[in-house]
């Protein structure tokens, strides 16, 4: 039981990480109708910049702020240079161009920071673990990650539902022509939303940095999962991104934790381990397929 709770917590924490990625991606996709494969690159760059700043300054907070700032600026710059042209193009051309950006970024971080993964440790204040329940110790940093995820979710909720910018965003994801009618500077709105998306991806990267290995190509494995999340949730919907992220995080984690054991009940040792591993790898894809078969536009579709 304790193990199950702990795994649930693990799933939640993974889901939160996915949510940070997915919220930005789904906004950019929903509002600008842009398929941005390079979203994972912002995640990677966020982690690298933070790791580099922490290594030289020793301050995690400085690293966090620096990474967010740098990535947001980079995001806006890339938006102005490349993406503006891409909005009018079809999805395929966007995929091609952003694929090019991925290749470039993966190589660029290797040129700048070398080929070895960077060192990035948990800040001292958040190291160690706490006893949540008797027998349930959980790393403090991961609790922190969950906390950050909740704060971001609330922030996004308030931003979208309570501010003028949010109103424009809501209008934008359902009716593009309406934004112009509201007298919003569309170019500025797009740049801001894109910058926000990049910033959230970088935040996910900084959260992931101390847990994962900060290395070139770290963006791709999470990128695919992020796309799975926003498709399950429904493109353009923050609520959907949250639901999809938690769902994917929990299903993936529980699958990995318990699938091999389930398989062992049916099969013998070696085959069970192998089958269990294979099944838990495909579980989230299966989940997505099932969701899309019954709800072809995801769980919460922002636009009709």
């Amino acid at each position: 039981m304790i193990l199950f709770l702990e795994q649930l917590l693990n799933g939640l924490q993974f889901g939160v990480m996915l949510f940070l990625m997915a919220s930005g991606l789904t906004l950019v996709f929903g509002i600008m109708n842009l398929v941005n494969l390079a979203h994972g690159s912002f995640y990677m760059i966020g982690a690298f910049v933070a790791a580099a700043i922490v290594a030289s300054s020793g301050s995690f907070v400085l690293g966090l702020l620096g990474a967010l700032l740098a990535t947001a600026i980079l995001g806006i710059a890339v938006e102005m240079l490349i993406f503006r042209v891409l909005y009018k193009r079809d999805h395929l051309e966007q995929i091609l161009a952003t694929f090019g950006i991925i290749l470039f970024c993966n190589e660029a971080v290797q040129v700048i920071w070398g080929k070895t993964p960077l060192f990035f440790d948990i800040p001292a204040a958040l190291s160690g673990s706490v006893e949540l329940l008797p027998g349930l110790n959980y790393p403090l940093f991961r609790i922190g990650v969950i906390g950050v995820g909740i704060v971001v979710a609330i922030f996004l909720y308030l931003l979208i539902n309570r501010t003028r910018l949010g109103m424009a965003i809501r209008a934008g994801s359902s009716d593009r022509e309406m934004i112009a009618a509201l007298g919003v500077n569309i170019k500025l709105l797009y740049s801001l939303v894109f910058g926000l998306g990049a910033l959230l991806a970088a935040l996910a990267g900084v959260m992931a940095g101390p847990i994962l290995s900060v290395e070139s190509g770290m963006g791709e494995s999470i990128l695919i999962l992020t796309f799975v999340v926003i498709v399950i949730g429904g493109i353009g919907s923050i609520k959907g991104a949250l639901a999809g992220a938690v769902l994917v995080g929990v299903v993936d984690t529980l699958g990995r934790a318990f699938m091999p054991e389930l398989m062992r009940m049916a099969l013998s040792g070696g085959a069970a381990d192998s089958m269990g591993a294979a099944l838990s790898s495909i579980l989230i894809y299966l989940l997505m397929a099932v969701v899309l078969i019954f709800r072809p536009r995801g769980l919460f579709n922002a636009s009709h």
Binding site: F29, V35, I82, V85, L86, R89, H91, L92, E93, I95, L96, A97, F99, G100, I101, I102, L103, F104, C105, N106, E107, A108, Q110, V111, I224, F227, V228, V231, I235, S274, M275, A277, A278, S281, I282, Y285, L286, M288, A289, L292, I293, P296, R297, G298
Partner: protein, 364 residues
Amino acid sequence: MQVTKTTTLGETVALNEPLAPASSQQHGKVQVSHGTGRRWPLSRWLTLLTFAVLLALPVLLAVLDNSFLLTLVSRCMIYGIAAISLNLILGYGGMLSLGHAAFFGIGAYVVGITAQNFMYGTALMEWPFELAASNDAIVVWPVAILLSALAALLIGAISLRTSGVYFLMLTLAFAQMIYFIFVSLDQYGGDDGMNLMSRNTLLGLDLDNDLTFYYVCFGCLLLIYLLVQRLIAARFGMVLRGCKQNEQRMQAMGFPTYRYRLMAFALAGAGAGLAGALIGNQMEYVSPNLLHWKMSGELMVMVLLGGLGTLLGPLWGAFAFLLVEDVLSGITEHWMLFFGPFLILVVLFAKGGIYGYLIRKEQP
């Protein structure tokens, strides 16, 4: 102006580029609008030139004693076949599939698995009936094509219930499932892949000879090219292109569009299966890498690089992609630093891909 009598052949070739104003598709009473202009559009010249060069290349290479280029061009042609098949659904059918590598990989694995069984003299199947493995391409390749088409039929049947990016993600999902299954299949090498000790034989031809193999690839490419050309110009192709531009309207006109799109998806899968069987033979090695989503992505990039929805574009795209990659990676280990921006520049400035850009410039 006189009514020009176009031969059947003339019309099919003119249909080469469906996006061009179909000015040669006259009805008897319609006047020819460009009778005084160039009779042969650039696209036809380029097609002839491309295939002529491919046909003659081995001779030139024999003079130069460069057998590497022979294998490299063979590989380009094989990827060209895969890209042409992808273009059928991507360019003509408007179906954004990011799972094409699955069919490519299945074709390759059919070759790999039969080769392994053939090598060890084991049966392919013992139940429900015993099936001995063959090493003849005339048996193995059609099986590869068939199985890939079948897989495409199944995946397409489910995925085509959705559209756009949702379709993209569903095809990706199924391809990834197949990828992970092959990764965990120990008896077929898992992630390490499997080695073919030799290539298939084809009706007594020795495919281990690179020159023979080159011309087999060339033949397959030509065949696929011609088939797609006919298919696109035929009634089926008209429906497919109609579905891409306005599916709802097609339904309103009375077309059960789902069936046509599914058929196109399965045919594209079959084409990829042939390409897969060829690449398995060319490399004498198959691995799950062939099924990975990055391979699907690369095939997609090839199509776009050359020209989406053009007949020759995907082939050019395959050549451009593989050759640029090969040359760049030879110059610097940081080749991706240049290859990435190259792709971006193509999107930003060569709209419609390299080949698409060329032939579009010609049109008024």
